[in-house]
């Protein structure tokens, strides 16, 4: 009983102090600079941030897709019993598309434009398990059906260009889930899609995580999507996670001034016509960042101590924040 509970609570993925830097001619770009989080089976983690904050690079680092001049400088990515940092390419290949899959913003990053859908899906299945073509074809058909695609037989014989954008993304997601992975990294998969199609895809992804206990990292800039999809949310700013915690608590009472600013920028339903609270200024460059809190130039609460880099603290249970002056006073009792 206790043993079972222990394996249940063991995280699928644990990222510890991950640093991915790019060594460019202009200097070192610290795209990911000390990111730590863990994710349990069946859990959806929303990784939120604005463009250039390093959220996609965090996803790419986990699955080992960082190309030179980029390099994982330090830190660990523990997936079950393996540390993925420093794992040879061959080891990564057996995991990718099998135990860990990735969904990209543009489905054409996943799909080969000159191969039919069935060829691509069968290839993915047979790369990781020993089965006949007809068995693989059956699995592919089931995967498409699960994504809510009608007449999967016909779609399997299509080329990617014959499908609409929403359909392509659903095929890409079906491929990501076809080997029943333990972890799916989704990088803004619904950003380019229409609202009604987005809702369909969120619905299917939610179902798959719930029924198959797949852990999922949902990378997005859209707080609204994440607030209704994720169990936990991590907010990234300029290469670091500035706040993470239970989705409901974080949305209701953010601890970091940046999270509060982001939430205030979303035109919310209860005050149409009013001025939105805006965060002044722009995101800083990640090229040789200055010491100290990276948000302090834009922060309304900045004070003298903010010139030193804040470390992660837990001012209230189960909530992490990287700020010298978190918004604790405003927490509801």
């Amino acid at each position: 009983m206790t043993a079972a509970a222990e394996t249940e609570s063991r995280p699928t993925l644990e990222v510890v102090d991950l640093k991915t830097h790019f060594f460019t001619r202009a200097g070192v770009v610290k795209a990911v600079d000390g990111v730590s989080f863990a994710i349990a089976p069946g859990e959806v983690l929303g990784l939120v941030g604005e463009s250039g904050c390093g959220k996609s690079m965090t996803g790419f680092s986990i699955i080992g897709l960082i190309d030179p001049p980029g390099r994982i400088v330090s830190g660990a990515v523990r997936f079950k019993d393996n540390d993925l940092v420093g794992l040879p390419e061959e080891g990564l290949r057996t995991l990718r598309g099998n135990r860990i899959s990735m969904i990209f913003q543009d489905p054409m990053m996943t799909l080969n434009p000159v191969l039919r859908i069935d060829t691509q899906m069968i290839e993915t299945i047979q790369a990781h398990r020993d089965c006949s073509r007809s068995v693989a074809l059956g699995l592919a058909r089931n995967a498409l059906m699960q994504m809510g695609i009608s007449s999967p037989e016909r779609r399997l014989r299509c080329y990617p260009h014959e499908l609409s954008g929403g359909m392509r993304q659903r095929v890409a997601i079906a491929i990501a889930f076809v080997n029943e992975p333990d972890l799916v990294i989704a990088d803004e998969p619904t950003t380019a899609l229409d609202v009604t199609i987005q809702a369909q895809i969120l619905h299917e992804a939610q179902e798959l995580c719930r029924t198959k206990h797949t852990a999922m990292i949902w990378i997005t800039h859209d707080l609204a999507v994440v607030s209704s999809l994720a169990d936990r949310i991590a907010v990234m700013y300029a290469g670091t996670i500035v706040e993470q915690g239970n989705a409901r608590d974080l949305i209701r009472a953010p601890l970091h001034p940046y999270t509060k600013g982001l939430l205030g920028s979303v035109p919310s339903a209860n005050r149409p016509g009013e001025r939105l609270t805006q965060i002044p200024g722009m995101t800083p460059s990640l090229l040789d960042p200055k010491p100290g809190c990276r948000f302090r130039m834009r922060c309304p609460r900045a004070a003298a101590e903010c010139t030193a880099s804040p470390s992660i603290s837990m001012p209230i249970p189960h909530r992490e924040v990287r700020c010298w002056r978190p918004l604790i006073a405003e927490q509801p009792a």
Partner: protein, 335 residues
Amino acid sequence: MTSASATPIIEARGLSKRFIKQADLAERLLERLGATQAPSVVHAVDNVSLAIASGEVVGLVGESGCGKSTLGRMIAGLLQPSEGQVLFKGRDRATLAGADAKAARLAVQMIFQDPYASLNPRSRVETIIGEAPLVHNLVSRAKLGEFVGEMLKRVGLDAGFKGRYPHQFSGGQRSRIGIARALAVSPEFLVCDEAIAALDVSIQAQIINLFMDLRQAFDLTYLFISHDLGVVRHISDRIVIMYLGRIVEMSPTAALFEAPNHPYTRALLAEAPRISYEKRQFQPIKGEIPSPLDPPRGCHFHPRCPLAMARCAEEAPALKAISPGRLSACHLNDN
């Protein structure tokens, strides 16, 4: 006096736009050989009428391919309608000539979606903003520098930026330059086509606030085209919902969100992502947006509509008043 102020600043009457695909070489050869094919026609906008009062902000919402941008471009005068007319202050724009036509053109300006593609990368900001007012004699060459500096300040940029090129700016700053360019000819009406869609959330908030400040300062009227219901709800007085080239519902903002009438509007509102405090189960409507090349007969929405009846597949519903100021195109309102 009252009748003058009641004349809408812009009125579209029965606007339609059809795009016809040119036959390619193979098709032309086949035609020579005697094969006849129907040309493929896209009804991007299908008989749309819309009046916008002075000082109003109208939000135009719809999913990709619904014709909202095409409608915006026709109203801005960038596209010629296939049918119908656009009236500027009660006068058909097509019949205006000379100085009147010029004034009507200048009074309606457009702000584009992509802050990268809509600025000439080889022009300095001074030229981008100053070219049109100079051509139209709104400012003398001697005063141009000062004028451009003034425009930049209006949109919250430093007047010293006028010597720079677009690539030296961030996305949010480029948006502001696009807005300054539109404002430089003192327009009365702005068509904003997804003007903030390409920006980050925190920058979006800055630009939305700027739009609202400018409206107050210069008495502007907006047609705000967007797929983002949250943004549109925030700044619009009235909302128009389009689906596959037709208007399905038109209503004051508060009333629309309180009680959406058309089934498509209801689905859109239900699925629009919004900040929520609870994890929620998504319950999507089935099916995809049909191709505008071959739209469904009758009501365009009937294949996806949970309430569709036999009549919906046969007869297109007319846009009818359901209460004062509200219009909806659905057969269910007849019962």
